[in-house]
Symmetry: C2
């Protein structure tokens, strides 16, 4: 593993997960590898608090929000941070610090890729 | 709680989950109640084996499959049964016994409702 030729990516795990991985679930059976990637994204949304945080970011102006905008979900700030980290690790959110606050962003391509997974197959 | 007036549903939990629950995640922040329902569906798909089983049913002819058609996912039959039960409990599959075999079915409305959750908001 050389790190001299390839510039390190800031968030390689997130970038991998963001890439559309799979055909629609109803098109053909997923392979084991495809299912690993897609299940990671679904699992990240499989918690009510994480889902509310994701929805809060996704529905905020421009698809991004300061952490100060989205903490109104009835859990402590450390819990909010924990869940935002999980969403980042799954590739669903990216983040950027600007001054005091960290801003979170949903990549539209991620929503589109997950939505595509759930489209019905033509019959 | 009277059970004399309302005929009992065969699968009330599943029927509740099947009902489209929520606006697109990017339209407005989900409420706590909406997030509970939607997270349950995402969580059911958040396991690679369950996701493969769901995809195997969804992509099978007519959106339904005999359990004998979909057990090729590298886990034991009891494990397959366990995961199919979880998918039923989440309202993602329904089942019906026909002779020897149980047949599983994806309701297209469930796929459509989950896909709608993941559509991008108009900007």
């Amino acid at each position: 593993m050389s790190n001299t030729r390839v510039p390190p990516s800031i968030e390689p795990a997130a970038a991998d997960a963001v890439a559309p991985c799979c055909p629609p679930l109803a098109e053909r059976p997923l392979t084991a590898e495809e299912a690993e990637v897609a299940a990671r994204m679904f699992k990240a949304l499989g918690d009510p608090v994480r889902l509310r945080l994701f929805s809060a970011v996704a529905s905020h102006e421009g698809g991004e929000a300061c952490v100060c905008d989205i903490s109104d979900v009835g859990v402590s700030q450390p819990t909010v941070s924990h869940h935002l980290k999980k969403l980042k690790e799954a590739g669903l959110l990216t983040s950027e610090r600007r001054g005091t606050w960290v801003h979170y962003r949903v990549e539209p391509s991620v929503l589109a890729a997950m939505g595509k997974l759930l489209t019905a197959a033509p019959r």
